[in-house]
């Protein structure tokens, strides 16, 4: 028998008695046996053993637990998911965070809106708007007076108690105080809606609403005077002028109520003496100041 065949048979443990003798006669028989026997140095159980069944069972049960499916019919989970969905809907659709700007007497504030439009808010005014989704819904509520420099973009709406002002990108001023409603357009085109009427104001025109009647006039100035700390009047009664004066200087003014002439002109805000002069001179009146009380009277 050939040597290779003998070794092959030996590896299979299939040597007969005679063959075994022949194998032992091989010159490298010892070496072959040694190589095969030496493998026992690498016996697996010397290095690693399988855990017994009990510890396996423990692991099996531990591994089971986290795989358990969520029981959607559990009443607690039902309630919790309804609450979460409701809160989610509320915050998505109804919860709009409002920005509210209020100015005190003698206070001007400049507000930059999310689209870089600029609103200058005059004293004693209130401006409310929502920054959320501003680019698609440029709407704000105004009570008082404000000047708008609107960036080009979508429709820009100013809601007031007296009417609505809509623009597409322009500069305009809005006054809405008590029954006074005045919109001045300095640049672009403004649309004013009041009592179901629409009025379009091109640049350099002004719209005012008095006792339900709207009227359009032209303006020559490039921006409202209050931005330059001035109050401007055109054919105004002395009562209106004095009201504005009292508001600006926070004073009490006595004046003749039966005056028929109207006032056209302006007064500046910084100096009471100068302001009184600007009002009284054209109307041929005099004034006296006593302990923060002002009296305007006819010339003696």
């Amino acid at each position: 028998m050939k040597k290779d065949e003998l070794i092959e048979k030996w590896l299979k443990n299939e040597l007969s008695e005679a063959e075994n003798k022949a194998f032992q006669q091989l010159e490298d028989a010892d070496f072959n046996t040694y190589i095969v026997d030496y493998a026992k140095h690498f016996k697996a159980s010397d290095h690693s053993k399988l855990s017994d069944f009990n510890s396996f069972k423990e692991r099996y049960n531990k591994q089971k637990t986290p795989v358990r499916k969520i029981d959607w019919f559990n009443p607690f989970i039902k309630v919790a998911s309804v609450i979460i969905v409701t809160l989610g809907l509320y915050f998505t659709f109804f919860f709009n965070q409002e920005t509210r700007i209020e100015t005190l007497a003698n206070e001007n504030r400049t507000v930059t809106l999310p689209d870089n439009s600029i609103v200058k808010v005059n004293e004693l005014s209130q401006l409310v708007f929502s920054e959320q989704n501003w680019d698609n819904n440029r709407t704000l509520d105004l009570d008082g007076e404000a000047f708008f420099d609107v960036e080009k973009g979508n429709r820009f709406d100013v809601n007031t108690a007296n009417g609505k002002v809509s623009v597409l990108g322009t500069e305009f001023n809005v006054v809405s105080r008590d029954s006074v409603f005045k919109v001045s357009c300095y640049e672009g085109l403004v649309q004013v809606t009041y009592n179901n009427n629409d009025v379009k104001l091109p640049a350099g025109t002004e719209f005012s609403l008095k006792s339900g009647q709207g009227s359009k006039t032209t303006i020559a100035i490039v921006e409202p005077y209050w931005l330059k700390n001035m109050s401007v009047f055109e054919n105004a009664t002395l009562t209106d002028v004095v009201k504005e004066l009292e508001k600006h200087f926070d004073i009490n003014v006595q004046y003749p109520t039966d005056l028929t002439t109207n006032f056209t002109g302006a007064f500046e805000h910084g100096n009471l003496q100068n302001a009184l002069k600007s009002i009284t001179k054209p109307l041929d009146l005099t004034y006296t100041i006593k302990n923060s009380k002002v009296v305007i009277a006819r010339h003696e």
Binding site: D30, N32, Y34, K43, S48, K49
Partner: protein
């Protein structure tokens, strides 16, 4: 008699019997094939977990090849062709004491070389060779575990032996 009644391996007693009879073989097979680069005990147990999870679809006769296939895949998924590392037992194995034969000159160098050659064998060669020569499994048993024919097992053992002999030839005193 009992052969006719299909045994349900979902039953804990039946499963424990399978675990005790196949567990050690599975564990050893993984060790000889992949060495100590993976936690062999862990992988063997994982294969048993998979078997128990699927106890309704796997019959008792298929359990053996199911376990060996699953365990083999589990390890292969984890390994990214890392080098096999086997641990060499420094002292002579228990119940097997023998003298270093004269033809081995350098005992320590031989041990080192033997381990290197063993590690360089293919996984299939090494697993078959060691299960046969260390664990004393018959070729038939190995063939069943690996789901291959007996001829394949014989070939693997024979080729493994030839590689070892050729690479260790230098240690033979001429």
């Amino acid at each position: 008699m009992s052969k006719d009644i299909p045994e349900d391996i979902c039953d804990e007693n039946v499963f424990e019997r399978i675990y005790d009879s196949l567990g050690q073989d599975l564990h050893n097979f993984l060790y000889y094939k992949f060495g100590s680069q993976v936690n062999v005990d862990d992988k063997a147990q994982e294969a048993f977990i998979k078997l128990w999870d699927n106890c309704k679809t796997v019959s008792i006769s298929k359990a053996k090849s199911f376990l060996f296939t699953i365990a083999n895949n589990l390890v292969l998924n984890e390994l990214k062709h890392q080098k096999v590392v086997l641990k060499h037992q420094q002292e002579s194995p228990k119940n097997y004491t023998y003298e270093t034969p004269e033809f081995i000159l350098e005992k320590e160098q031989f041990a080192e070389r033997y381990q290197k050659v063993l590690e360089s064998l293919t996984e299939e060669q090494r697993a078959a060779f060691l299960m046969s020569k260390v664990e004393g499994k018959t070729h038939k048993e190995i063939a069943q575990m690996l789901n291959v024919t007996q001829k394949v097992v014989e070939y693997r053992i024979y080729s493994a032996f030839n590689v070892l002999k050729e690479k260790l030839e230098a240690f033979r005193k001429k």
